[in-house]
Amino acid sequence: MKSFGLIIAIVLELVLTCSLLSANESLWLDEAKKKKCCEVKSDLSPQKEFSLKSGSLHKNEKLKDLSGSILYIRDMDGKIEEHNLTGSKITFIPQYKGNYHLFVERRSVQDGTLNVELSSLRMYNKEGNISCSWGKEVRGKTSDSRYLSEPLPQLPFQLIMEKSIHRHHINCCLYAGDIAPFKVYYKGELLHDVPLSVEMESGWTNVIEPSDEGTVSFEIPRSTYAPDKGDKKRSEKLLVSASYDTNESGVFEGNTYSKVHYTMTIPLSFGNSPLEYESKSLAFATVIGVMLVFSLGLYYNRRRKRKTLKEIYFDEE
């Protein structure tokens, strides 16, 4: 009887996940692994390479043909460049050191619905061309550690991560256990009812409902399946996506449509929380211990020295 219940549970579970996965055939930007060799450099800043992938984090394929999709690049000053993509990979040369925000838009009509697939990626360029950014070099990068998080006007539908990332250890990152708050915008205004689906590299998925204020936030989970090879600094991918349907109708590339289906994804990478490896209490204990030992040592050393003059005839009053 028990086993039967268990089986049912498993079945249900499977069904649920499968249904979710099928619902989440999303498109996402992925930064290509840097190849040591044959790196194209234009005035000292290496070329960055990205590809569009469709599917889930653990089961996906790279898109061969990107023609028709548009790339928006927003730099730290909010300057926006627009590129029409061709070929199979996205290449882009960041001009200077700091954060870049990449957006890709791809439209296609499929049996009467217009699929608007969007993805955005944050990228931090460690390198850069001094001639473009010497001012920042002189002033210092102290204020560039935050993302700009206004919606991009070109995009009708947009998912935005609200968290401004501090330089926790100077080079910034997200950690398991951090709260990641998101907002969903449609044509500039906030949507209150769009759920968020989250997927981890390890395969764990979840759907999060928005709060009344319209922020959808969740705690970045720690991957328990992750193969822990003593590499405590390993980072893991996380794909956040939201989709939204409207009954707009129109014509796109000659095909008419009566529905529009928006999806937007944000691939994030996060590291294991330092908190797991940090001990505050021990730290304070050490400090206090050291202080005690040191001061006691001093005290006795001094008493030994001053014995000769411990006369009552001196008086600090």
Binding site: L44, S45, K97, E127, G128, N129, I130, W134, E137, V138, R139, G140, K141, T142, S143, S145, H166, R167, I170, K232, K233, P274, Y277, E278, S279, K280, L282, A283, F284, T286, V287, I288, G289, V290, M291, F294, S295, L298, R302, E316
Partner: protein, 337 residues
Amino acid sequence: MTKNKFSLRRSVNNMNLVRFRFWFQIAAFALIVYGGWAGIDLGDKLPTFACVFSSDASGGKCYVGELQHDLRHTFEMMAGYAGYAFLISLGMFIVWFWVLNKGWCGFVCPLGTMQDWLTMLREKSKIRFSEYSWANRKKIKSIKYILLFLMLLLPVMVANSVFGAPKLPSGLAMPFCDICPGRMMIPAFTGDFNQFYIDFSTKTDLVMAVLGMIMTGLFLVGSFVKKRFFCYFCPMAALQYIFSKPALLKLYKDGAKCTKCGDCYHACDMDILEIADDVTTKNMVTEDCTLCLKCVAACPEEGCLEANFMGATIFESTKEGFVLRMAMDQHKESHAH
């Protein structure tokens, strides 16, 4: 030698330096530690301990942090943009530094200010300060240079394999920040105690974190019993001293007027013997000097010591000023018998 009764110079020379410095340091402390909240941001090339780790609050950042960060690059990067970046940062640091010279230590450095506060606490509680023996005093001079050297070398060795040696673990990317008590203390003043941690993630992190905590403990007790305890070992001081010669603010001594009475040495928090015994050198900004100007305030000889900014005397030792500062300027009838 006739003195105009109400000249500005005279009133400056008669000022109570201790009080002036106390308030100046508080102001500087507020600017550096809390300035960020007021939207002040002096960049991250400051030649003083404005901690990189107290994220939003600080009104500027310490160059030592930036320096280590800049050095953590592969050689080919250093050959290119990173090299430029490094040079520009360094240049900026030097420009900042030249304004106040070591005055950054004596008047601005928040860590120094904390130590002075601890000293005041000690003085109030009537506990005698400690001193190094002259021999040890000499010995420890080299420590700050060693720290500086390591601070410069380790980040490079993290990014590159130097002379075929294996790359160092990334835990050593910011070796000095790891052990700098400023990292714990300055954020702590903004209510952020997150820097007090021991990191078990890797062995290096563990060691460095523990070192950091130990240093913090030593710092607190040490600077309670010894004036400016930490400044004796400060690699920033070493780094600054390299560029100290052409700086604008100077401490000059007229050896001919010196009687070697040692009052200046007695006042000096850094126990710099030269200030009293060296009667030939003019520029008295030595490697350990913090330009706190206490020596000038304690000098009873007319115009023997002076603080000089771009050739203009701004604060000079005078008999009158000395007497006022020591509150010896009026006669109290002999105390009750």
